[in-house]
Amino acid sequence: MKLLLHIALGHLLARKRQTLVSMMGVAMGVGFSIAMASLMEGSQRDFITRIVDNMPHIVIKDEFRANPLQPVDLLFQKGAVELKGLKPKDEIRGIKAPWNKIEALEALPGLKVAPTLSSQIFLSFGGKDVSATLLGIDVERERQATSIEADIVTEGGLDSLHTAANGLILGRGLAAKLGAQPNDTLTATSASGVVMKMKVVGLFHTGIISVDSSQSYALLKKAQILADRPNVINLMRIKMSDPMAAVDMALMLESRWGYKSESWQESNEGLLGAFAIRNAVMYITVSAILIVASFGIFNVVSTVVYEKTRDIAILRSMGFEPSDIKGIFLLEGFLVGLLGALLGWGLGFGLCQILGMIRFNIKMMTEVQGFILHSTWIHYTLSGAVAATSATLASYLPARKASRLKPVDTIRGAA
């Protein structure tokens, strides 16, 4: 092996420029793949962080994923049973015995729960009627389990709900639709016909238009009175200290209580799927670059094999095995790939530094924005391994050809 390496290095060092060019090919592939992976990973992590920071990690709703099984279904579980004209019985909506459940949830480590009654209401002000979603909340729990407090743009935060008899915090868009300002008193009407005077005690702005233009907050008790559903809760929003465990936890909660429990991953399935596709596109692009680089290596090793036909012949007649010859040229490909990968690591690292320094000055954005980069050792290891492997594979055909050369054919022709 040492001897083969010795000869392989001799060949490569004798044609430094060619070797360097093909190494650069590999380096480009590896370098760009590291930079691209870093960009992708960075933006993806940033996105997920935003989701994870701003959305509940699990939402338990007073819904069930499947209609309850009917007795006939239970009896003939494997039968081809079709039930028609079934009249579902009127069930009282809402999560049953919510406070027991909240207590159970809060006993779990790292879990925060915000119990909510979400209902549709009409808000009237100055002759305008606007429909809105009213979230009845428990201020202290809401503060711990969600980030809404940070989005309240008026003084006092969530606690301002306590400052009026029927306090209401509106999304800024919703307030604009109504033409209402803080301290205005609106008329709220629920689907069950209860009418209540409510005072605007605050405004919030999350930046998500659909939320800002339709959502409002009130104390849970008031919302229950307005909806005429005393003591009812129909939504539990859960924040976890380990958001990645949300899928398992949601499954567990759903199997325990039956209520539909949706993890943030499930709610954002489309987005996470898009990330997967984006990553696939990236890997395809990077593979393409490396394939091109492999052609370069194939080219060098083929050239060396062609130029070194005489050397191969004398080495074979001297007592080198065909496998030795193959080894020499495989090693040459591997070395170009390996050194190219090392160069590529440097290039990738440098590219990341440069990309990290770029700033976009977009006026609409309050902060100065740049690329969000995130490199992991996996990017480096993976790209390096792929480069070295593809380089070795690229040299396989010429190496095999070299090992099959018959020394006599060459020696006869040489004079």
Binding site: H11, R310, L315, G319, F320
Partner: protein, 227 residues
Amino acid sequence: MNLETPAIEARSLSRILPGLVPAVLVDGVDFRAEKGELVAITGASGSGKSSLLYLLGLLDEPTSGSVIIAGQDCAPLSDAERTYLRLERLGFVFQFHFLLAEFTVLGNVCMPMKKLGRLSDAEQDAHGRALLKELGLQGFEKKLPEQLSGGERQRVAIARALANAPGILLADEPTGNLDSKNSRIVFDIFRNLARDHGKTIITVTHDHDLAKTCDRQVHLADGKVVA
């Protein structure tokens, strides 16, 4: 009749290239060379000298007949075993020097020793230098082949062929590219190797004067030994 085991022997050796019109390269050759013998193979161009030498050197496989080296019949050997015999017992010199351009003179000479792997690096180095000195190439160790004259290159090639101390040296027109002075030097070396070191040397040559200086001449015509 010599009763000792010959260093190398060919028994009714034939090499026929298959094809529409099969080409007979070597045709039923019987041949033997003793230890310490310097044999010249002569013959017109195309008479099969090189072909015979390749067969004797296990570089080519005969269509029929066999080559026996130091009493061992090589016909039943595997490719790997033949390769090992070449490494251990045979040395080759060709008309072209076949030196590896990327390696120094000493590096070239040490190549077969490295492959055989019996000597330490230091021993290889010392042995290589000794061989070069013996062939009058002292001081050339660190030079590259391209910095040498044709005669010097050919002597380096001889040194390399001798690196693993083979009993048999096979040379195919080793002086084909050399002037008469250098040719004489090469043959002096051969004679010396045969006489003083007991090497068996079989060399193909076109040069009748040089052939005459050998212990014996074998003349080929149309792939057959004629004298």
